[in-house]
Each structure stands twice: as C-alpha cells, then as structure tokens.
C-alpha cells in the first residue's frame, strides 16, 4: 500500500510543510528536534488537522478533497512519543483496549503473541504508574499493534530499550513490514535502527 | 388507608393543634395531616393552588391575601384564637419593669438589644411593634431591636442571654424554662392578635368542615386554652 502525503500546518509561528509519497514498507522520518515529525504523525492519525493538503493511504483518502476521517476509522496504530497509557486501566486492559474494539477479521496478533515478544507477560496486572520507562514503552507498542491497524505510526518506539529487547522488537517490525505488508511511518534518531528497518528515509527539514 | 383533611397551620400552633388533631382522631376520625410552617409560606402555597383543606394563619393580612386570591370558601373564615404578648428576660435576670405607657424599656436595655420576631415581616414582630408604638416606647427602642426569623428564634436569643429582653407570645414564654416573664402586654392591643381559620376552595376532604367545627367546639377550645391561647 502506498502512502501519499502533502500537508501544511501552522504551529505557533512556524509552518510545517511536507510532501512525500512512498510505496509499501517502512518510511523513516528523519529530521532535527522540533522539525515537525510528531506533528506529521498526528495529522496522519487524525489528531491534528492540517491547514491544507491531503493524506492518502493506498486507495483510502484520510484527509483532503473535503474528506476528514475521524481517527477511529483511520485504522492507524500509533505508538506515541510519550506513551499515553490509560492511567485508570491495568496493563492488560490497556493492551486489549483497541483489540476489543477491532473487527475480529482485522486483528492480526493475539494478546499472548504480543506479550511474549514484548516480554511484558509478567506486567499484565500492574497499573501503568508502576512501570519503568522501558516497560511502559513496550506496553504502548503492544496496545497499538493489538488494535489490528492498517498502518503503523511509531514515534521513537525503541528509545528507552536495551539492545537485546530492541533487537527482538525490530525483528517483529520487520515481519509486520514484510509479511503483513503494512506501511509504517517511523520516527527515530538512531542510525542503526533506521539503517536496519527503513525502506526509505524522508528528510523533514527545519 | 385514608388520611384526614390537610391542614396548613402557623408554626406557633404546633403543639396545641397537634393535640387537637389527636383528640379528633381519638374519636374515630382519620387523623388530619398538618403542615406547620411560616404563615407566609403556607399562604403562598394556598395561592399557588395547593390541594389543602384548612388554613390557619398567624395573622389577618395573610388570610386577607389568600381571600383576595379567591382561594377561600365563602363564609368559612373565622377567628379561631387569640394570643397575648409578653416581655421576657433570661431566667437568671433580676430586671423589673412594669408595662405601661412610656415604661423605661430603652433605658433598661442600655447598649443591648431587644429580641423580637422581625417587626416588618413576621406576625409576632408586627404585633410587638404595634404594642410598643401604642405605649410610646417604640421610637426609643426601634434602633435597638434584634429582629429574628420567628418568635422561637427571638426566644432563643433571650434564652441564650444574647438579648436581655424579648417580646414573644405568652404561649411560647409559658413553655420555656430558660426565660422569665417580666410583664404581659394589655389584651386590648390594636391590631388584636388573632389566628384566623378558613376552609379552602381546593378542599375535597369530606371531613374538613367537621374538623374545623371541632376546633371551635368546647373540647377544642379547652385544648388551646391549656396551651395559653385565649379564645377570641
């Protein structure tokens, strides 16, 4: 599935403008801090409204031409830069939140699979506030994947993980990219990560 | 289970009218349902069309208002009771005053205050103001009153020593151990202290008129007299 993005958005006193198309695979967004990477993901997810432009994923127009799909039908799996776990739900209920809402046919991963490769099965009954930084990050990844999305938006998803864990998760991301053929928009500053995962790199300029 | 007629009555009648209702029920009638509150509140309820049978007001103006609103059944308005005003002081007080024209109430108060029900609003207060005016004492006292929400609240101010004197109904003073009656105001006050009663237009209860009549009966009057009310 192809991604076709051309958006403009004013934030404070600067304007974020990007335009790129990409085939299937993992597209790494690369650029300095504050360049607008998170803003782009938020626009694709439907959490931030572009001032003008369009966002198309495969055949579907998410935004533009008078269309502005609400986030819940865009089917994006968004791993936020800041986690955003639901503080009032235990880890298990965080993980199944999107899973339970998805059509069974749309799901492509079970809770057991997710907890296994993320190494979070011992955390299922914990409250989010008791998690370490890396633990919370892994739960956030699991929550997004379990919702059975058609496109993944990952904002520095591996930043607080150790090398071993990082390797495991990258393997899964590769499988998602290659076997499920899901388009992935991926923000990272880690050279090694990008070199290993990215099908292509889009520079987001200052 | 059938209930008796609905009676709206001034709060100062609480004990006496409850006793009367019990006596009536003891004769095999359904016990009347009595709501005690300020006459003003009850009158407004009647005027708003409340489904009640009998209204007993603590003063005439509110009964007039109800009558003017066309809520009274013709020919049923009558004076049920009278009351007297008394000057009270805390039980421990040694104050002596004789109530008469120009009696030195103002001086007796000194820098302190005279407790009474709101003289601009509440019946008992209006009567007190009228009585003091007639005695020529009001102009001196006016700036020294502590107008309370109702007679009971005025009584409480005296009971608690917050005011050295208060003017309340004889019936209230009669029942309180914490105050002492210093003197009784002349019965011939103007306007006279009278509790009018009337059957209401909205009345549907078949025993409403009978209960009203019972209140005026010998047995009924005896009960009110025992609580310190005077027959009108």
């Amino acid at each position: 599935m192809a991604i076709d993005i051309d958006v403009e958005k004013r934030r404070g006193d600067r304007v974020i403008a990007v335009r790129f198309s990409a085939g299937p695979g993992l597209t790494a967004l690369f650029g300095p801090s504050g360049a607008g990477k998170t803003s782009i993901l938020a626009m694709v997810a439907g959490l931030l409204r572009p001032d003008r432009g369009h966002i198309r994923i495969g055949e579907r127009t998410l935004f533009g031409d008078g269309i502005d799909l609400p986030p819940e039908v865009r089917r994006v799996g968004y791993v936020f830069q800041d986690g955003r776990l639901f503080p009032h739900r235990r880890v298990r209920a965080n993980l199944t939140y999107g899973y339970d809402l998805a059509e069974p046919a749309d799901r492509w991963m079970t809770l057991d699979e997710a907890t296994l490769f993320l190494g979070i099965d011992h955390l299922l009954d914990r409250w989010p506030y008791t998690l370490s930084g890396g633990e919370a990050q892994r739960v956030a990844i699991g929550r997004a994947l379990l919702a059975g999305p058609e496109i993944l938006l990952m904002d520095e998803p591996l930043s607080s993980l150790d090398a071993a864990r990082r390797g495991d998760i990258m393997t899964v991301i590769e499988r998602i990219r290659d076997e499920l053929k899901l388009p992935i928009l991926y923000v990272s500053h880690d050279r090694a990560e990008v070199d290993r995962l990215a099908t292509r790199v889009v520079e987001i300029g200052e | 289970r059938e209930h008796g007629p609905v009676v709206l009555a001034a709060a100062s009648l609480q004990e006496s009218l409850t006793e009367a209702a019990n006596a009536w029920a003891a004769k095999g009638h359904a016990k009347p349902v009595i709501s005690f509150a300020a006459s003003s509140a009850l009158a407004r309820q009647v005027i708003a069309g409340a489904p009640a049978d009998l209204f007993v007001s603590a003063d005439e103006p509110w009964m007039d208002a109800v009558a003017k609103a066309g809520m009274i059944r013709a020919g049923t308005r009558a004076i049920l009771l009278g009351n007297r005003l008394v000057l009270v002081a805390p039980a421990a007080s040694r104050a002596k005053l004789t109530i008469m024209r120009g009696f030195p109430l103002t001086r007796a108060l000194g820098t302190r205050r005279l407790a009474l029900a709101d003289p601009d609003a509440v019946p008992a207060g209006k009567y007190a103001k009228a009585a003091l005016t007639r005695l020529g004492v009001w102009p001196g006292v006016a700036a020294k009153v502590a107008p309370a929400e109702n007679v009971r609240a005025a009584l409480a101010l005296v009971e608690r020593g917050a005011a050295p004197f208060g003017i309340v109904y004889a019936t209230d003073a009669h029942a309180s151990k914490a105050v002492r009656v210093v003197g009784t105001f002349p019965a011939t006050s103007d306007p006279p202290i009278r509790y009018p009663v009337a059957l209401l237009k909205a009345s549907r209860h078949r025993e409403a008129a009978a209960f009203r009549a019972f209140l005026f009966s010998k047995q009924g009057r005896a009960i009110f007299a025992r609580h310190g009310f005077s027959a009108s």
């Binding site: 959490l47 936020f80 009032h88 999107g98 | 004990e15 009850l42 407004r44 409340a50 009971r152």
Partner: protein
C-alpha cells in the same frame, strides 16, 4: 432506639436525598461537561444559572419552584395534563427542591475533574478505534470519577440538609415532605425541644457520615490507576 416516626423521617430523607442526587447526576454531569469543554455565547449566563440556587436564599428558590411547579404554574399544569403528576405536597417535590439546591455543588465538583482530564488520552483512545462516545465512556468518564464521587457526597449532604426551598415549595407534610431538617425545624418550634433537635441532628450527621465513608471506600477501590506517586 428510634421511634417508628423517626425511622419514617430517616427513610424519607434517604429516599428524597438519594433520588435527588441520582436523578441530578447525569444532568449535572452534562452541564459540567458543556461548561468545561465548550466556549459559546451565553456560557457565562448558563454558568450563572447553574449557580443561582446557591446565590439565592433557599426560600426564594422554593418560591420560584412554587410559582413554576405549583398546580397553577406553567410547569405544574404541564406535568398534570401530560403525566397526571403533581409535585405539590409530594416527596417528589421535595426531591426536586433538593436536586436543584444540590445542582451547583455537583456541577462544580465534576467540572473541576473534567477540566483536569488529560485530553491526549482521549485522542489515544480514538486512534485505537474508539468512537467519541466510546472514548467518553471508557476514558473521560472514569478519569472524571473523583469529581463524580465528590459530587455525590456534596449533593447528598446538601440534600440531607435542605430546608428552606423544601418547606416553601412543598410544605411540611408528615410522611411525605417532612424530611430531617423539616422535622428539626418543627422540633425547634417547641420550647424545650432541644433534646429532640439534637437527636434528629445527630441522625442527619450519621447519614452523611455514612455517605462519606461509602464514597471514600469507592474512591479507594478505584483509585489505583489514578494515583500519582512521588517516584
């Protein structure tokens, strides 16, 4: 320990307070939500209207209710002709008075909690497939729970103490509208009734203490996830 009459008064107070608070809850939450989340012309007016029963002496509120919901009032007539229902001299009228008096307190408490919700969590819920409605039920509402519990306690306590509006609107009818505060008023009218007043006041206090303990227990049962820790 309690006379049957006193039991009756307590039961009535519980019924009036309980119905008032539970019936008001969704309305108050809706108002709190609108006031917290939306800016629109007339917002201050709406806010002012909500605060009205707090600002006006209760007797005035009762009088306004009487004018509107009395048998001759517009709302009263409408209720009568459509539902054959009347609030005059009925416990339902007492519940209405209590509800209106509790409203401003309930709205404020819930509004504070709603304003404290991290709205980014609602966005997260949406990306996970939740409709606005589902996100409201599964995220916003649970996060506003502390305010809802506070609203329940405040509203119930206020209802248990409501006097002026009730006696003015629906009078002081034994078994129907004579709740605890009205019974206390009646006892206060009797010289030497202080013992009775004390007794009834203690009952009021016990009732609301019960509500308080219940709410603390509920808060503790659900607070796990909301706890903020010092690291």
């Amino acid at each position: 320990m309690l006379s049957p009459e006193e039991w009756g008064i307590v039961a009535l107070s519980l019924k009036v307070g309980g119905v008032a608070v539970l019936a008001t809850l969704p309305i108050a939450f809706g108002l709190a939500w609108v006031l917290a989340r939306y800016r629109f012309p007339g917002r201050v007016i709406l806010d002012g209207l909500v605060h009205l029963p707090l600002v006006l002496p209760p007797v005035v509120t009762g009088w306004l209710l009487l004018i509107a919901f009395g048998p001759l009032g517009p709302a009263g007539r409408w209720l009568e002709s459509w539902f054959g229902a009347t609030l005059m001299f009925r416990w339902t009228g007492a519940a209405l008075a209590a509800a209106i008096m509790a409203l401003p307190l309930m709205v404020r408490a819930m509004r504070l909690s709603i304003e404290g919700i991290d709205r980014r969590l609602e966005g997260a819920a949406r990306t996970l497939g939740a409709s606005p409605w589902h996100s409201f039920w599964s995220v916003s509402l649970p996060l506003a729970l502390p305010g809802i519990l506070a609203a329940l306690v405040l509203g119930f306590a206020r209802s248990i103490g409501e006097f002026g509006a009730t006696i003015t609107f629906v009078s002081n009818i034994p078994g129907e509208t004579r709740t605890l505060p009205l019974a206390i008023y009646s006892a206060l009218q009797v010289p030497g009734g202080e013992a009775m007043v004390t007794r009834l006041a203690l009952l009021s206090v016990l009732l609301s203490l019960g509500a308080l303990i219940l709410s603390e227990w509920l808060a503790r049962r659900t607070h796990g996830g909301r706890q903020r820790h010092g690291d």
